[in-house]
């Protein structure tokens, strides 16, 4: 075995492994990337029901209620970004840090009726913390300018929209 053939073997092995790694990565990316969407985006262009997305926004105050489906508890609540609200259904125990009026990120799929079925609900470790995506979306829609202090309470957003629309 000369140095050259050994090098050739190593190069072949490297190419094979790195190539398959790249192929696997691309394949996995194309089917498993999860996009973040705000409720208004979901309303405007609903993704297909087999495509999981991350839905982020604030839990609308007073919207949380429970449905009991044959002994399985389902939590239902509205998630809003101030423009629109989406009804979320989640089977399971909500995280300890879940609160009405605070931010939340839900992983799941949009159903044909426009509702959202979550397989996972994340609330962050800190009550003053807002997921970056939610904060960005609030700034983008003009609901919150961080220069003027804390984010407004979630329960007021839809009413703000309504006022604007009405007046």
């Amino acid at each position: 075995m000369t140095r050259k053939t050994r090098r050739l073997w190593i190069v072949i092995a490297c190419l094979a492994c790195v190539g398959s790694a790249a192929a696997l990565t691309l394949r996995a990316f194309s089917s498993n990337i999860v996009f973040f969407m705000a409720p208004s985006q979901v309303k405007a262009s609903p993704p297909s029901p087999d495509r999981p997305i991350r839905l982020g926004g604030m839990v609308m105050a007073g919207s949380l209620h429970r449905i009991n489906e044959n002994g399985t508890p389902v939590n239902a609540f509205q998630v809003t970004d101030g423009q629109a609200a989406v009804e979320v259904h989640y089977t399971g125990i909500l995280p300890d840090l879940f609160r009405e009026g605070q931010s939340v990120v839900a992983l799941g799929t949009v159903q044909k009726d426009g509702g959202f079925t979550a397989s996972e609900v994340l609330a962050k470790h800190d009550e003053t913390y807002m997921p970056k995506e939610v904060a960005d979306e609030l700034k983008r829609t003009g609901k919150w300018d961080p220069r003027f202090g804390k984010a407004p309470d979630a329960s007021s957003w839809d009413t703000m929209t309504a006022k604007k629309a009405g007046g």
Partner: protein
């Protein structure tokens, strides 16, 4: 005596000592001045003492409830138990950076103490590099995140600690994990020293490997402990979330594992030198980026601290200097290193090369998956995330050939192997693996779990049969076996044990892929069945704890009518922090975990219902047990005489020849 000012002064002193430790030995080595180089160990030890004193001061501030110290006021409280006052010191940003540099200084101290057989020049340079890195992070600590900052007026009581973090598992997780991260600074320093010197030989491989193995053991334990913590504290029944912070610990583990293996080739065959040096640099660079880049808020994570832009900029500059500098040095000096060992592709060296390629491919996938979302955010402005489905789909297929090769590799001889002969040693293991395939088809569902499970059994069987063959079971008399057992190097035992540990972990992961769970809402006295067990909610009662109110359930589990256990899951309400935590109840027989969580209470009177989450997790404890076995295997290798003694004679002879 142990006030914050003394601590602050000691920290500044340590920083100055580290700077001297960086400059003097390097200068001395270039001038071949033995006296200047000989100062390095003394400087390293005094830096360690100064920093240790400084850390002790911070602990004393926390224990003595000195709320005039900003850090203590923000993270401690009078009512906190003593253990958490101490461990809380490293539960925040400032304290954890101080702990990080303390461990780095301890590595320097260890090199000074245990590295007596190293050539003076090499030891001086290694300590200088460690001192340089140390100085950088101590400056970061002093200038941007001072743990001893005073606050005026001092508050009466501190703000307390997140109750979620008040847990013994999390208390000891950071020091172990940090020791793993920081431990890779020593191979890094060895690599940079070798580049400056322009020489890598078998002796270098022999000196570097124990440090890499030690760091690897700690990192393995740290990752396993973190995963276990999230399993029993967070109450989701999950053990690994592919969160950026978790990936940041997995990436250096993968390259570190590759390093531990490629250093063997340097040691035994003087091959793969350039590659090993690059791996040593890469592993520490990933460790650094892991601890700091993730927390700097560049990656979106819960653990982010960078509200202060100065910190982010400082850290980025520091990372650029350390990583960029070492890579530039590598590009400049690496071509002067030449490999000598020749080997055929089918040989021990060949299998180690394959191991390295596969581990680095997996690492590349994990890096891509972790870094792609923030880059997309930055470049395209789209918020995306990749999670478990992505990592499962992309990493598991690459793990399969790795497991297959793990079984064959240790049976191959160095230099050139005959496949037929090697396979003749592996018949028994292949037979067991064939039984394993049947077993997996019977118990597991899904192609990937079955393939991984069967290969894990293959790894365990092949590693065990390799050791059995070497000690001559079936060939020699019992006395001969005993003799051979004593003579078989401990590093061989260690390698077999580590491979078996990896197999056990993979089996645990396969078992967990079959986990079942149910979320139910039931009245007291009702029964639900899950995976063949009947779960009955016997009673729920409230009680008052030291600083919380709790709701505790009695949950009986029966199998075929026979009582297995009664679980007591709890939900705790911390009124002062207005936070609730979930206390999971787990019953384990080391084959299956029964895992119960209690959620909310609804309704009143007779109509009261409780939401429960029931999990049945097959082989769950094996995941962490395997990690422990891997670390024990590493520790076993470390106790090998050859690892400790190194090759002093040869090096001494060479140094004399050069002088």
């Amino acid at each position: 005596m142990f006030g914050p000012e003394q601590g602050h002064f000691a920290l500044a002193l340590a920083c100055v000592l580290a700077l001297v430790q960086f400059a003097v030995p390097l200068w001395g080595a270039s001038r071949r001045d033995a006296r200047l180089v000989g100062l390095a160990p003394y400087l390293a030890v005094s830096q360690l003492i100064a920093l240790g004193y400084s850390f002790l001061c911070l602990i004393m501030c926390a224990v003595g409830d000195d709320f005039s110290v900003q850090n203590v006021a923000a993270n401690s409280a009078v009512s906190k138990p003593l253990l958490y006052k101490i461990t809380g010191v490293w539960g925040n940003h400032e304290g954890s950076v101080l702990l990080w540099t303390l461990i780095l200084a301890a590595c320097g101290g260890a090199v000074s103490l245990f590295g007596r057989n190293l050539p003076d020049i090499l030891r001086g340079r290694v300590l200088a590099i460690l001192g340089g890195v140390s100085a950088g992070f101590q400056m970061f600590c002093l200038l941007t995140s001072d743990p001893f900052e005073r606050v005026f007026p001092a508050p009466m009581d501190g703000q307390g600690m997140n109750p979620l973090l008040q847990d013994p598992g999390l208390a000891f997780h950071p020091p172990i994990l940090y020791t793993g991260y920081v431990g890779f600074a020593v191979p890094f320093a060895f690599a940079v020293a070798a580049l400056i010197e322009g020489r890598v030989d078998a002796a270098w491989g022999r000196w570097v490997r124990p440090w890499a193995v030690a760091a690897w053991c700690f990192l393995t334990c740290g990752i396993a402990l973190g995963s276990w913590w999230s399993y029993y504290v967070l109450g989701w029944g999950g053990y690994w979330f592919w969160d950026p912070v978790e990936n940041a610990s997995l990436i250096p583990w993968l390259t570190g594992t590759a390093l531990v293996h490629s250093a063997i080739v340097v040691e035994k065959r003087e091959g793969l030198k350039i590659w090993t040096v690059l791996l040593a640099i890469a592993t520490f660079s990933f460790s650094l980026s892991g601890t700091f880049l993730v927390r700097s808020g560049i990656l979106n994570s819960v653990h982010a601290f960078a509200n202060d832009p100065a910190r982010g900029v400082f850290i980025l500059a520091l990372l650029a200097i350390v990583i960029g500098g070492s890579l530039a040095l590598f590009a400049w000096r690496a071509p002067s290193l030449t490999s000598t060992g020749l080997f055929s592709p089918i040989s021990r060296e060949g299998s180690l090369v394959l191991n390295n390629i596969l581990l680095c491919s997996i690492c590349a996938v994990v890096v891509t998956g972790t870094m792609y979302p923030p880059f997309m955010q930055l470049l395209a402005g789209r918020t995306i995330s990749v999670g478990k489905p992505f990592f499962d789909a992309a990493t598991i297929p690459l793990t399969l050939p790795l497991l297959l090769a793990m079984g064959v590799g240790t049976a191959l001889p160095w230099k050139r192997a005959q496949l037929a002969r090697t396979f003749s040693h592996l018949y028994a293991a292949a037979g067991i693996a064939a039984i394993g395939v049947v077993l997996c088809f019977w118990r597991l569902s899904g192609i990937m779990p079955i393939a991984c499970g069967a290969l894990a059994i293959w790894v365990i069987a092949a590693s065990a049969s390799d050791v059995l063959r070497r000690i001559g079971i079936g060939h020699t008399s019992p006395r001969g076996v005993w003799e051979r057992m004593k003579n078989l190097p401990r590093s061989s035992w260690g390698a077999a044990l580590a491979h078996i540990g990896a197999g056990i972990t993979v089996l645990g992961l396969c078992g967990m892929s079959q986990a079942q769970h149910a979320i139910v809402e039931i009245h007291i006295g009702e029964t639900r069945s899950l995976g063949g067990d009947a779960w009955t909610l016997l009673d729920v009662h409230d009680y008052i704890g030291p600083n919380y109110k709790a709701m505790q359930a009695d949950l009986a589990i029966r199998h075929n009518g026979k009582l297995v256990t009664i679980l007591h899951p709890e939900k705790r309400d911390f009124t002062t922090q207005s936070q609730t935590t979930t206390e999971v109840a787990i019953h384990t027989n080391f084959i299956t975990d029964l895992y119960g969580v209690i959620g909310d209470r609804h309704g009143t009177g007779k109509d009261t219902t409780y939401v429960l989450r029931l999990h049945r997790n097959p082989l769950a404890p094996w995941m962490w047990l395997g990690g422990l076995v891997m670390a024990i295997g590493g520790a076993f290798s470390l106790s090998d005489r050859r690892m400790r003694i190194g090759a002093p004679k040869r090096a001494a002879a060479r140094n004399m020849a050069r002088a």
